[in-house]
Amino acid sequence: MSEIKIESPLVDQVEAVRGNSAPAKVGVRMTEHPFLGQIVLRGKSSDTAFTAACAGVLGCEVPTTPNTYAEGQGVVIAWMGPTEWLVLVDGESTPAWLSALRGALADVHAGVLDTSGGQTLISLEGPAALDVLAKGSTLDLHPRVAPTGFCTRSLLAKSAMFVRVVEAGQRFEIVVRRSFADYLWQWLVDAGGEYGLAIQPAESTLVLAGLQASAPPKTATGA
């Protein structure tokens, strides 16, 4: 059997893999983080058997405040909906996390689905990152509304996305479905061009925000 070839959804975007020659002025840096472990967790937050089992494996409580995420040791767990969470881990550790979660949740009404091949993660960082996203997103990602610890599903341009605020107003992570990734990447390259876009070589590492506790976001922009 020949070597097993793994390919990110952005395999055809040469710059996503190798990076670009950065422009003189850099307003935003963009990096693909391919091959992370991306696990969808389903369950009911009112079900203490479910939450206790999750907390035991993850090392932190599953966030039940809408649009927030929590972090444990090498793991991010993000609220996606009242019965759905996205768990992000390093690619190599994915099988271990999957089996730990499946084992702990075997007797609970819950689901553990591996979606690592179905989506990829793109990070945007820098003073213009927020403006690049604002070109295609109606979300208010101002730090007053979307502090570090905020996350949500939404739309970016004509693609669905999940966005996580890693550093308020400065660093964002976008999770995009595989089939839309090539389109969204090209859209981001075009939207970022105005500010000077540096593309960094793909890096298959999970970035943690270093959250202590997730603060509930405000829903209005007012003080």
């Binding site: 039940t64 996606m80 599903r153």
Partner: protein
């Protein structure tokens, strides 16, 4: 473009939502016992008020949840959003 206050996620732009018809259309318990006319009434007949309208929306590009909205069809003002019978946050599905 409306701004709709999702009961879970807060105010979001209309493009994240999908309209899902009139609210509180209950499927009959035992369809087989209904006459053709009664069944047709359930299937097809909807109110079309000028003014307050009870309708369903889904935060399809957000938390994925369906919820009820009272909206004025003349002014487009949204009076309230609610999840029918929602016991507690995080427990709808």
């Amino acid at each position: 473009m409306f701004q709709i206050d999702c009961p879970w996620c807060g105010p979001r732009d209309q493009q994240e939502f999908a309209y899902a018809g009139e609210a509180a259309i209950k499927r009959p318990e035992n369809p087989a016992s209904l006459s053709d006319a009664e069944w047709a009434d359930y299937l097809f007949m909807r109110t079309n008020p000028r003014g307050r309208h009870h309708e369903q929306w889904r935060h399809v590009h957000g938390c994925g949840q369906f919820f009820d909205v009272v909206r004025d069809t003349v002014t487009y003002r949204i009076e309230s959003v609610d999840v029918p019978g929602r016991p507690a946050l995080g427990d709808a599905s």
